[in-house]
């Protein structure tokens, strides 16, 4: 094993001092990998006024947080972010660097890997390590429209880098009892040296935060049109969730693409996923089968969605969904055991 490079570094992506959930998810996964090989987990926090995120990173499982807090890092820009990340990586020498496969994350990872240079695996959905002494990162990702999974290895270069899809890995519970060191690093770049200026940011008003939702109520082709989605919204609101959809609904224009779950949409793993009128093609299920509890409502008992569903109702959604809204509105069912959590 290469003694020079040790530890797993995770980039903490943030906007306006708010971290993207994928950052904590990757710290959780880094922790799991680190336990296998006896390595440390390091967070890389960049921004302006983001010291609290260095602390949060420790609460989420990092042993150390490297903090580069500087006015030029207020907005993400490739140049200052990649330069300060490179300085940190060259100094700390982690054996693995993990970055969320978001737009900014992919932008940054591509720049860093080229400068180092090292190998970079994009958009991974499985991350594992070989035990000591090899400590090789096994970075696996779907290929050819999710029809094949492939493990990519980077044997001769360090650090081994990967971007990882949001919503796949589970964050550890936030624990204020966790302790770790925050290491502030200097950064000397000046605003005049940076050609790129972020002029404005328009938050998407129709934005649906599928990846962070605890409950998703998703509609499919069986909805038959855009009208039924209002009812799904009602059900989702009742459960504190959001509305998702399968691709045919988006292609038909029944709902916006931002709601799409699956291969060309988002990968989600909420606590509760209710699939309504979704047949369950692999292109859809690949994006949701990691959900904690899956409920399928479909009139076709042969629909493949039942293969991944923990609970199934064979029936017309037009009948089932209004009833569900009614019984949920009534609160905890009388028949449920006290405390509710008993299995």
């Amino acid at each position: 094993m290469d003694l020079e490079y040790q530890g797993i570094m995770v980039w903490v992506e943030q906007r306006g001092g708010v971290a993207k959930p994928v950052s904590w998810q990757l710290i959780g996964q880094a922790r799991r990998l680190a336990e296998k090989i006896g390595a440390g987990v390091f967070a890389l926090v960049q921004g302006d006024g983001v010291e609290h995120l260095a602390q949060e990173a420790i609460y989420y499982g990092a042993d150390r947080a490297y903090l580069i807090d500087h006015p030029v890092l207020r907005d993400y820009r490739t140049e200052p972010y990649s330069i300060s990340a490179l300085e940190t990586i060259r100094q700390v020498k982690p054996e693995i660097v993990l970055i969320g496969a978001t737009y900014q994350g992919r932008d940054l990872a591509g720049a860093i890997a080229t400068h180092l240079p090292t190998g970079l695996t994009a958009d991974t959905t499985m991350l594992d390590v070989e035990p000591n002494p090899s400590r090789l990162l096994l970075a696996s990702r779907p290929a050819f429209s999710e029809k094949l999974m492939a493990t990519i290895l980077c044997k001769k270069y360090k650090p081994q880098m990967a971007t990882a899809r949001p919503g796949i890995f589970e964050a550890l519970p936030r624990d204020e009892g966790r302790t770790g060191r925050i290491i502030r690093l200097p950064f000397t770049m000046k605003e005049e040296e940076i050609a790129t200026k972020v002029l404005e940011f328009y938050q998407d008003q129709d934005r649906v935060n599928l990846e962070d939702a605890q409950v998703i109520v998703a509609g499919g082709r069986g909805m038959g049109g855009p009208e039924g989605f209002a009812m799904l919204k009602q059900l989702a609101d009742l459960l504190g969730g959001v509305v998702g959809a399968s691709r045919p609904c988006v292609d038909q224009g029944w709902i916006k693409q931002t709601h799409q779950v699956g291969q060309t949409g988002k990968t989600v793993r909420p606590k509760l996923y209710i699939a309504v009128g979704i047949s369950g093609a692999v292109q859809h299920t690949i994006g949701m089968d990691g959900s904690h509890v899956i409920v399928a409502i479909n009139k076709d008992p042969q629909a493949p969605i039942f293969n991944v569903a923990h609970y199934g109702i064979v029936g017309e959604w037009q009948k089932v969904v209004p009833e569900l809204i009614r019984v949920i509105s009534a609160g905890k069912p009388a028949a449920a055991t006290a405390g509710g959590a008993a299995k």
Binding site: D75, T78, S82, Y103, Q104, R106, G110, A111, T114, T118, G119, A122, D123, S145, K147, L148, A150, T151, L153, K155, A195, T196, K197, V198, L199, F201, Y202, D204, R207, Q214, V215, L238, L239, K271, L272, D289, H292, A296, N307, V308, H310, Y311, G312, I313, V314, G315, V320, V321, V327, S329, A330, G331, K332, P333, A335, A336, T337, G340, A342, K343
Partner: protein, 273 residues
């Protein structure tokens, strides 16, 4: 303005099937297409040329059959198209590919004049990484603006674009030379005109091999120059779970209360969840 567009010929992955027995790809009969995002990049380049003058050079690295992709680019209005091909370039991962393309862009600049804008698709259908664009920008010291949804304006050496992000739109301005990666939302790709098709039929793409790059570092190209290798590959299995069928909404709601969901989601008795 000299605009270089990097394109790639890819198998149309939507048409690829997997042999369920062997777990291998069935590539036969799968059509080769120009990576769709690259065509949006080319369209953006052609529009920049129409508005600001200049020329559009298209580059592709690939096997000789990728000539077809270059002819398509010519039919749409590109001025020159170069095929970068050599067995020694084969087996390249994103790092090695970006290296060769950046050397080719240097050569294009030496041949047809300084390059102001490089455009690539946001990612390819087959590689699906989105890493080659940033790799080129880094190696050539270009400004890097990925996931561009719209070019807002070009004034002098400054270019302003809208980048599409998960949570909204970002308006960014930078200086040329710049690398952009294109989203589908950027534009609608034109159809080839009749004169365009005739020009493409007559056009012989320029071919550059390793020998055309006297200064290239051969340790950085092809398989040898690629840090990543593909290990195991397999056909993902769809998880199959034992489904508990319940009879109607009320039975479902009761069943859900018997799971750990009330605890995990903080459902409380008496009021709505």
């Amino acid at each position: 303005m000299h605009i270089v567009v990097c394109i790639k010929q890819v198998p149309d992955s939507r048409e690829i099937r997997i042999d369920a027995k062997t777990g291998t790809l069935i590539r036969e009969g799968v059509p080769s297409i120009v990576n769709p995002y690259d065509l949006h990049g080319l369209e953006a380049a052609l529009r920049l040329k129409e508005q600001h003058g200049g020329r559009v050079t298209v580059l592709t690295m690939g096997p000789p059959m990728a000539e077809k992709a270059l002819k398509e680019a010519i039919s749409l209005g590109a001025d020159e198209a170069v095929l970068i091909t050599d067995r020694k370039f084969g087996g390249a991962d994103t790092l090695a590919t970006a290296y060769v393309l950046s050397e080719a862009i240097r050569k294009a600049a030496a041949t047809w004049g300084p390059v102001d804008v490089v455009i690539a698709g946001k990612q390819t259908l087959d590689g699906d990484t989105g890493q080659v664009g940033p790799g080129i920008a880094c190696r050539l010291g270009l400004q890097q603006l990925t996931y561009v949804e719209r070019i807002v304006s070009v004034e002098g050496r400054r270019i302003r674009v809208e980048r599409h992000l998960e949570d909204g739109l970002e308006v960014v301005e930078t200086s040329m030379p710049v690398l952009l990666t294109a989203l589908k939302e950027m534009n609608t790709v034109r159809r080839a005109s009749l004169p365009g098709m005739l020009a493409a039929a007559r056009y012989k793409p320029i071919v550059w091999t390793v020998a055309d790059f006297p200064d290239i570092d051969v340790s950085k190209i092809g398989l040898k120059g690629s840090p990543t290798v593909v290990g195991r590959s397999w056909v993902p299995e769809v998880r199959k779970v034992d489904t508990t069928y319940v009879d109607g909404a009320e039975a479902l709601w009761e069943a859900l209360w018997r799971t750990d969901l009330p605890e995990r989601l903080g459902w409380t008795a008496g009021e709505e969840a």
